[in-house]
Each structure stands twice: as C-alpha cells, then as structure tokens.
C-alpha cells in the first residue's frame, strides 16, 4: 500500500474551468486589454508597482539570504560562500559567481510548469556579475541560489533584486545594489510590474536591471514590436522604478542592521 502511489504514475490533469466560461472570458479579456482605459486585474494604476515586502536573513544556514514578496510572487535567495571552487575549476585570480534559479512544483497554477525557465540562471548571473567585485574573493566561488516559491508574474526581476539583497546580507562587496523592474506593453499602454495574467497577453516586454546610484544598466532585455520613443518612455519608467526599489532595499538593509540581534 505504501509504495502504491509512487510506483504507479497515472495520468492526471488539473480540472480547468468549463470551456464555455473560458471562451467568454477570452472574448472579454483580450479587447479589454486593448482598450485605452481598462482596469488592471489587481486594481493598480498602470505606473504603480505592487507593494514590495523584503526581509534579509530568511535562511539561517546560508551566509546571507533574503525573502521577497511582490504580490503573489514569492522568492527566497540564499548566498553561500565565498567558499572553495569545485575541484575541476582552473585557478583564477578573481572570484567566481555561480547562480541557479529553480521553481517549486506548485509555483504556477499547473503543476510542474516551472522547468520552462532554464535561461533564468544565466540571466541572473549576467545581471549580477557587473555589480559584484569579483576581485575581492580570489580563487573562491560565491553561490547564489534562488527558489521561486510562487510565481505571480515578473519573476525574474524579483529574483534579481532579491539576489542582490541576499549578496549584501552575506557581506559580498558590490559596487551598488542591483534592482530590476519590467514593463509590459499591452496595446498602446505601458504597464509596470506585470502579473502573470498580464504577461500572458502582453505584446512586448522590457526588463531593465540597473545599479541605481551609478545610473548604469547591467542587464536589459526587450521583446515584441517597439518604436524608439516607446523604448525611451519604457526605459525611463523602469529606471525610475529601479531607483525607488533601490531605496526600499536600502531601508530594508538598514532596518536589519539596526534591529537588536537575537
């Protein structure tokens, strides 16, 4: 009896809403998104980010860690090291940064869908490597591991911001905190910090990762059809939000250090 459920793997499916309902929703939804003044599913205005909840020191056994919650997007990042590099690695007089992003099986509404995000690990690495002072830990490796507990849209930007907070918590030297924000283009509107539903209908997206106090962009991705003025507008929107997010992250770090230790 005990091994029964694990040995047999019957084909299962999650019950989806009735087809009839779905069609109706679709016909309603898409035009709504194209309208000039539709209301976002969570009631925010277009230029309004979700409230950010950030805490450092989420995982005790790590050198540094952070938990981030933006709406339904929940992420934990642990930083280990600097520690010995893998045996196979060659000698290097600068440090190495090793990043990995994974999803829980229940992160998205359909079970086990999180494995679609293979490129996130290398994108996290690219976003961080420009900010971390690799020469401050020669010959060793710093591991940055992220786990998306729940995916609610804009996952990668949240992971990146949370990772830089965890690096700061671990005391790894950086030029500046790295903050990341994405914008979705829906019809003629630019929508900041999109949720999953908005992302699935988006016509284009722009993600910017920046070091706000140095006014430098470390990572930038764009997809969809854009004209130059629109890019300009979206970049300004993102950079402005990055600056504000940077302030929130800074105050989170300040709180963590000023709070009395246990």
């Amino acid at each position: 009896m005990a091994g029964k459920s694990s040995s047999i793997a019957p084909t299962t499916y999650s019950p989806s809403p009735t087809l009839k309902v779905k069609k109706k929703q679709q016909q309603q939804q898409q035009p709504i998104f194209k309208d000039v003044d539709w209301v976002r599913p969570d009631g925010r205005s277009f230029q309004h980010c979700r409230p950010a909840f950030l805490r450092t020191g989420a995982v005790n056994s790590a050198s540094g860690s952070a938990y981030a919650e933006f709406g339904n997007t929940k992420v934990i990042v642990s930083v280990f090291g600097p520690r010995e590099s893998k045996k196979a690695m060659m000698f290097s007089d600068i440090g190495r940064l090793n990043c990995n992003v994974s999803y829980t099986t229940f992160a998205s509404s359909i079970r086990g869908q999180g494995s679609e995000h293979k490129e996130f690990s290398s994108m996290l690495h690219k976003a961080l490597e420009g900010a971390v002072m690799l020469e401050s830990f020669p010959k060793t490796t710093v591991d940055v591991f992220a786990l998306v507990l729940e995916s609610g849209g804009s996952d990668l930007p949240v992971v990146i911001s949370c990772a830089s907070l965890a690096l700061a918590d671990a005391g790894i030297m950086m030029f500046d905190l790295v903050t990341s924000v994405s914008v979705s283009c829906l019809g003629t509107n630019l929508v900041i910090d999109p949720i999953t539903e908005e992302e699935s209908y988006q016509d284009g997206s722009l993600m910017i990762t920046s070091m706000p106090s140095r006014n430098e962009v470390t990572q930038l991705t764009l997809s969809g059809d854009w004209s130059t003025p629109k890019i300009h507008e979206a970049m300004q929107l993102c950079l402005d939000a990055c600056l504000k997010l940077g302030e929130i992250m800074r105050s989170c770090l300040r709180e963590a250090t000023s709070a009395p230790h246990e």
Binding site: K22, Q26, G204, R214, L220, S223, D225, W226
Partner: protein, 287 residues
C-alpha cells in the same frame, strides 16, 4: 578563451580607437557574408551562413500540431541552437550547453516577438490550418559549426535565409467534418507555400570596446569587450527585440545611442543579406 598578450590587446584596442581594426575593417563594417540555401535535403528549409570565420547552419522543419488554447488563431514556432564541439574546444561535453540556452533564448526573443505574438518576425497567423484545431509547428534548429565571434548575428541571418528557403506543404482540409471532430487533412506533396520573410528582422550586435562600439566583432575582439548590445531590427526600423550581454554596466543614454547606431547598420545588413539570399536561391535553382 582567447589567450592574448598585452601587446596584442593594445593593438586591438588601439586599432578600434583609430577606426582601423586588425583585419582592415572600419568600426561598423561587417565581414563578407556568404549564404548558401537548401543545404539539408530532409528539412523543409535550410541555409548556411558564413560570416568571416563564423560558420552556422539553420534548418526549418514543419509539423502539424494543435494551437495553444490562449491563441487559437496562431501557429507555434520554437527555436533551438546547438553548439557543435567541432566549433571550439570549450563546447565539448556539457560546455556548450549554457551558450546554447543563451543563444536560443536570445533568438526566440528577437524573432518571435511578445507573448501575444505581436511584433513577431514570422507571421504566426499564416501557420494556421484550422482555427483552434490544427496549425503548423515550426521547429527551427541552429547549429554552430565554427565560431569566430558574433554568433547571434550569423544565426539570425541563417534563420532568415532558411525561412525564405522554406516551403510548407499545402494542406487541403476535408469539408463537412463536424466542429468537434479532428479535421481530416490531405497534405499535398507537390504544392508548397512560400514563406513571407520580408518581416523577419536581422540582429545587429554592437560590442563596446573601450569608448567605442564595433559591429561584427571577431572572437579576439569579443574577448576585449566590456559589454555588448544585440538589437533586432526589421525592415521598417522597428525594434523587435534587444538584449545586453557582458558584465559592465551601461549608461542609459549610451544604450539609446547604440540603438540608433544599430538601426543605421541594420539598413545595410538587410540590403546585403537580401541580395545574398536571392543570389543563393538562383544558384540552388540552377544546380
């Protein structure tokens, strides 16, 4: 990794600063491009593009599938890139995996547009056979045969050439099938539909070395880069995708400047590529 002496590094950097690169090019000039189409018999379309020492092959395969329920009026396209171990010693074993994943993701972003399909270089609505029931799934595979820098631009060009070489069999849907049933189809092996590739963008990568940026960097030049910006631009000058590579940060105003430069470069690249593709098609038809 390219092992360069201090002298060689200075030579490359100095040349770029003076607008005269090691191989005699100016900063924004591409290496000679050669295009060969129809190189793989079993694929629906294929092309081989050589850009200096960089050599890539792209193939397109079409299969019938079911459209995504969110977008019943659109076909599906997937892009996958493989780095052959013959291209560079570092691609052996699992070494090329990360680069493969990165290139695949970058090409998908540049060519397939937003999640809703808007801004896609490939007209996804043309792939539909029966709305909501059946569509063509395009599997685009890229293979890096030899690598001498600027893989992304070369792969983008190869995919564009392979798509224009692609013929999709005409499908006749049997009339009278009820709405619920799987439609019965008859795939013609004589009539082919040509693909409209005028909307497929080209990818231009600008590599920043020192204070200047160069187009079409070689492997040696790439080893000296501080960062690079890949922009995919279509015929009308619209940006269809963009991503930054390399570690160092960039000032936002520099990025905007790089975008306008890459737009300018893309005009020449599109014209050059179009003439090469049509020449290759003529060659293929004659042989």
């Amino acid at each position: 990794m390219v092992g360069l002496s201090v002298g060689e590094k200075h030579f490359i950097q100095g040349g770029i600063a003076q607008d005269l690169r090691s191989d005699g090019r100016k900063r924004l000039t591409y290496r000679p491009i050669s295009v060969e189409t129809g190189v793989l018999a079993q694929a629906n379309g294929s092309a081989r593009v050589k850009l200096g020492g960089t050599d890539v092959i792209a193939s397109v395969k079409a299969e019938l599938g079911r459209p995504n329920h969110l977008y019943p009026d659109k076909g599906k396209v997937s892009i996958y890139v493989d780095c052959s171990p013959t291209a560079a010693p570092m691609f052996e074993g699992r070494g090329g995996e990360e680069l493969s994943a990165e290139l695949s993701a970058a090409l998908q972003r540049c060519l397939l547009g937003g999640r809703s399909g808007a801004g896609a270089g490939i007209n996804l609505s043309a792939l539909i056979v029966v709305e909501g029931k059946m569509c063509w799934d395009l599997y685009i595979d890229g293979l890096v045969v030899s690598s001498d820098g600027n893989l992304l631009d070369a792969l983008g060009a190869a995919i564009k050439a392979a798509l224009s070489n692609t013929g999709i069999p005409k499908v006749n849907v049997a009339v009278g099938a009820s709405a619920d049933e799987e439609p019965e189809v008859d795939i013609s092996d004589e009539e082919f539909l040509q693909f409209d590739t005028s909307g497929v963008p080209v990818i231009v990568t600008l590599t920043k070395v020192g204070r200047h940026y160069i187009a079409d960097a070689t492997l040696e030049e790439e080893s000296q880069m501080s960062s690079a910006l890949s922009v995919s631009v279509d015929r009308h000058g619209h940006i269809c995708g963009m991503m930054k590579r390399g570690g160092a940060g960039l000032d936002p105003s520099v990025i905007l400047d790089m975008i306008s430069v890459s737009k300018h470069v893309s005009d020449q690249l599109i014209a050059k590529l179009d003439s090469e593709i049509s020449a290759a098609e003529v060659d293929e038809a004659e042989s």
